[in-house]
């Protein structure tokens, strides 16, 4: 019972969604419309759940004094600060429980939530991924060694695209006459992107798409049920 009813739910809901695509008559489109609005609310709770479990996990690490617990404590403190600021005074145009907090905004220049967002969240988030620029540079030097025909093909394309998408490409072959404009590196890079690249990406899309159709079908029919978790 604990397992079969959810499977029936998934089946019914999935089938109604499928039917409503092809049968435009009521009641199907109305049911699906209601379902879509519910979906949004339930997903809201799902995200709530995800964030709460994350914080609970961190709190456990602190409670059990696991290695690096001090850093997790810093994480927890920043979580609490941001949450309280957000709930009390809201963010940007949205008022919070205590209104817009004009007093504190006058002091900070913006709402406290936005202040933290701009001066802590934004630089952290943006910097984390910019680290990869350095790693790509060192990988370029140490790992991108041409070996077989296939990796040659990859590297040659990469070089054309890397040059073609900058001003260097424009300067390098800008002198070519109109009749040879195909060989102008930016044009060549665009050609590669538009045709061979699109073809390969399309093949990937098609085969991955079939995979998604297949796994969705298995979920609706109840063949695939791993999402329900272990047998209990």
């Amino acid at each position: 019972m604990k397992r079969s009813l959810p499977l029936i739910f998934a089946f019914v809901v999935g089938i109604i969604v499928l039917i409503s695509e092809f049968i435009p008559h009521r009641p199907f489109n109305q049911i699906v419309s209601t379902l879509e609005n519910w979906f949004m609310i339930i997903s809201g709770f799902a995200i709530l759940l995800g964030q709460i479990s994350l914080i609970r996990m961190n709190a456990n690490k602190i409670a059990n004094r696991l290695p690096d617990w001090q850093y997790h404590l810093a994480g927890l403190v920043s979580f609490a600060l941001m949450l309280i600021f957000g709930l009390l005074w809201g963010m940007q145009e949205t008022p919070g429980l205590m209104g817009d907090g004009q007093g504190i905004s006058a002091y900070l220049g913006s709402k406290p939530f936005d202040y933290l967002f701009e001066n802590a969240y934004m630089p952290l988030s943006a910097t984390l991924f910019s680290l990869l620029a350095f790693f790509i540079a060192s990988a370029a030097y140490r790992a991108f060694i041409i070996r077989g025909f296939e990796s040659n093909l990859l590297m040659i394309t990469a070089v054309i695209v890397i040059i073609g998408r900058t001003s260097i490409g424009t300067m390098l072959t800008g002198w070519l006459p109109e009749s040879l404009s195909f060989w102008h590196i930016p044009n060549l890079a665009d050609f590669i992107m538009e045709f061979p690249n699109s073809a390969a990406q399309r093949a990937i899309l098609i085969s991955a798409g079939l995979g998604i159709v297949g796994s969705s079908l298995r979920i609706i029919l109840g063949i695939e049920r791993s999402y329900l978790g272990g047998d209990k």
């Binding site: 695509e21 092809f22 049968i23 435009p24 008559h25 009521r26 489109n29 984390l128 991924f129 680290l131 990869l132 790693f135 790509i136 060192s138 990988a139 140490r142 790992a143 991108f144 060694i145 296939e150 990796s151 990859l154 590297m155 990469a158 990406q201 990937i204 098609i206 085969s207 991955a208 079939l210 995979g211 159709v213 297949g214 796994s215 079908l217 298995r218 029919l221 063949i223 695939e224 791993s226 999402y227």
Partner: protein, 364 residues
């Protein structure tokens, strides 16, 4: 002067006679559209169509310079009466025509017939093959280059007396790539148990950790070497993305594994793994369905399972009817698509686009 009057009169007559404007419900749809058609005198300079709201306020829905044309007004309410006003502008005159219609919802979207048929064909094929696989039918799956490397890698590790490193991706157990990765791990563990080579598996999530331990232990028992199984070699590192990779980097530099396997879902950090592994001179095999990360694996690994190959390898090794059947069903779909494309291209060259329109559905 009289002459002129007659001319103007005749002119007006021709304009009035030739002009028509009518509205009908768009057939075979959800009742949210009305088709509008007009045929006006060729002198028409501009046409503007307004829909009249319940309170009589006009809303412009279409503008055109064509004397003869059609337009579909979408986004209406089903089963409702709508009125339209067309204004045609001539050189020094204009003309107003009215038309009305009801929207009606029907029981089928005719323009989606091709979509429905193909969806049904693919779905039926998948269901058919899963059933066939469950009934014990054996299916052929082609050789996958990356899998052959396993023997070579284990052999090399045994020879050098160094361990094998297996990274099951950085996603949790809810990602099918992680599941596929664990199937491959099971196979690799059997080989390494046979040759008595150490197998190191760092994990990012506790769920993956317990699953990986289970899988490896089973494999060791299967080949009759439960004593050789070391639970400590399969361990949790950290769930921080970059921290996890930095940890594996450290392992590669310290232990210098003879063979590295990166299977599963990888993101931006793939590059760091592949680079360090390459620098330590290990035989590297990678497999992921994350298209953005494949280039880095292809350049720095000896073998790469590309996209779907990862799932095919897992189906092949596990012999699980559900996986095998689905794979066969997808293969049927691929064959169908290849045939459709070839047929479509030939027809297009001949100037026939019926097939294309049938599949695409007459686009509004």
């Amino acid at each position: 002067m009289k002459h002129g009057m007659v001319l103007v009169f005749l002119f007006t007559i021709t304009i009035l006679c030739a002009n028509s404007f009518h509205a009908t419900d768009s057939p075979w749809d959800d009742g949210k559209a009305i088709d509008l058609f007009w045929e006006l005198s060729p002198m028409t300079r501009q046409v503007s169509i307004h829909r009249l709201n319940e309170n009589g306020n006009p809303v412009e829905v279409h503008k055109s310079t064509l004397a003869e044309g059609s337009f579909t007004d979408y986004g209406l309410e089903a089963n409702t009466h709508y009125q339209y006003r067309l204004t045609a502008y001539f050189a020094d005159d204009n003309l107003t025509l009215m038309a009305d219609s009801n929207t009606r919802e029907q029981w089928f979207f005719l323009r989606k017939l091709g979509f429905l048929l193909l969806l049904l064909i693919v779905s039926c094929a998948i269901i058919y093959y899963i059933r066939a696989a469950r009934n014990g039918n054996e299916f052929f799956i082609r050789r996958i280059a990356g899998l052959d490397s396993m023997e070579e890698a284990v052999g090399r590790a045994t020879e050098k007396g160094r361990p094998i490193l297996f990274v099951p991706g950085i996603s949790d157990l809810d990602d099918i790539q992680t599941i596929a990765s664990l199937t491959i791990l099971s196979h690799l563990a059997e080989r390494s148990a046979e040759y008595n080579t150490e197998l190191i598996v760092p994990c990012r999530f506790s769920m993956v950790l317990s699953a990986a331990r289970e899988v490896v232990k089973e494999a060791y028992i299967k080949v009759g070497r439960p004593d050789a199984y070391k639970a400590d070699n399969i361990f949790y590192l950290t769930d921080d993305q970059f921290g996890f990779v930095a940890g594996i980097d450290g392992i590669m530099l310290r232990e210098k594994p003879a063979a590295n396997f990166f299977m599963g879902s990888f993101y931006a950090e793939s590059l760091i793994l592949a680079e360090t592994g390459f620098a330590t001179g290990a035989i590297q095999t990678a497999g992921t369905a994350q298209a953005h990360q494949l280039p880095f694996f292809v350049v720095s690994c000896d073998y790469t399972l590309i996209g779907e190959e990862l799932f095919a390898a897992s189906a092949y090794l596990s012999k699980d009817p559900q996986q095998l059947g689905s794979l066969k069903g997808h293969d049927f779909g691929k064959l169908m698509i290849i045939v459709l494309i070839v047929l479509g291209v030939i027809l297009e060259i001949l100037g026939i686009s019926a097939l294309k329109e049938f599949i695409a559905g007459a686009v509004s």
